[in-house]
Symmetry: C2
Subunit: 199 residues, 2 copies
DNA sequence: ACCTGAACACCGTTCAAGT
DNA sequence: ACCTGAACACCGTTCAAGT
């Protein structure tokens, strides 16, 4: 039987294959060739359906960062909701490599901002103040996760001459300390916003 | 005349060539081949003197991130010094690409932490509290700069189907707003630390 | 011992050719 | 129209060969 005249291959299928390779072998293993090979086609269909590698990674990031943020409870104080929003956002972001969460993820972040801005306004903050508070928390969470993920890489294994800087850096930081640091960071920001700093 | 039996080429020369290419053409243009070509040698000497590409980028980052932080003035309040430390750290970090500031830069950051920890202890904070405050500020500044730099990339120029998410994301954020956001972020953190949140 | 040319196994991307 | 094989111009890394 002759094969169909056009491939039954959607952009979503391509993104799914890329995500599968990402989870199995890491971001460095995601290439136009590896994704097309997993789909059993040549690289050309990826270029016609997705564009190029940058667009593929954008689409992968959008997939991973869908439904980032929780919505506010009916009778939840805005401060409690802001804390919950930040912690949930962090745990979702941690599932994606830091290179994907940093570069041009505006669409996903605008979407994640909306429920927080709504919650802050319902809590009594002015529109301008709600946008300011949301930006502050968003940048804090995304930045924290980026540092946290860059931190996970152990010291260089190559035979480079590293300056050891005397007894400093005693094995870095434990996961518990990182969690406590995040909690403290967000709590100070929410407390400060509640106290009206910068208003 | 016969050429010398061994190249007069130090690891520092290699890092300098890589930094020059980085500044002229960006991080993507820094390759083992481009650096060796600029030096007029084959790639082999880079491997024998530096190790591999990861070690080269580590060395480039260490060069760019030297002397990150200012020291405290004699009669400077610890809160004023902390604000100054954060702003100066940010402006130094912004000279390096975000991929270089995030991955495994512990040596440079430990060094930048030392004057702040000293300043905080001189200001009356306990040793544990000074370390906690320093970590908090360091993670906040590095994370902020990472987000700030990822933010600079405009939307994907490829012909990908982007979901535009109705009127959201009105041209992003201006540089003045980013500067104000950083200042607010750090001020809230220092205020919170002064008030004893989490102590 | 330490270099170079050449090679290996990859990339992203595009072209001419097929159906 | 839309695919494939092959190619182009790159990578990081290593090998055999030269001096």
């Amino acid at each position: 039987m002759p094969r169909p005249e056009s491939l039954d291959l959607s952009a979503d299928d391509i993104v799914s294959a890329a995500v599968a390779i990402l989870h199995e072998s890491g971001l460095d293993a995601v290439s136009m060739r590896s994704v097309s090979a997993r789909l059993g086609v040549s690289p050309i269909p990826l270029y016609s359906r997705i564009g190029n590698k940058e667009a593929l990674l954008d689409a992968v990031a959008d997939r991973l960062l869908a439904e980032l943020a929780p919505t506010a409870g009916a009778d939840e104080a805005w401060t409690a909701y802001a804390l919950r929003w930040a912690h949930e956002l962090r745990s979702k972001l941690r599932t994606a490599p830091s290179r994907l969460i940093l570069e041009g993820r505006r669409g996903a972040y605008v979407e994640a901002s909306r429920p927080l801005i709504d919650g802050l306004r319902s809590g009594g903050l002015s529109p301008d103040r709600a946008v300011q508070a949301c930006r502050l928390l968003m940048w804090a969470v995304v930045g924290f996760v980026a540092v946290e993920q860059g931190h996970e890489r152990p010291a260089t294994p190559a035979r480079a001459p590293r300056s050891t800087l005397l007894g400093a850096d005693p094995a870095g930081v434990t996961q518990d300390e990182v969690d406590a640091l995040f909690d403290l960071h967000i709590r100070i920001l929410v407390d400060g916003l509640e106290a009206g700093v910068g208003a």
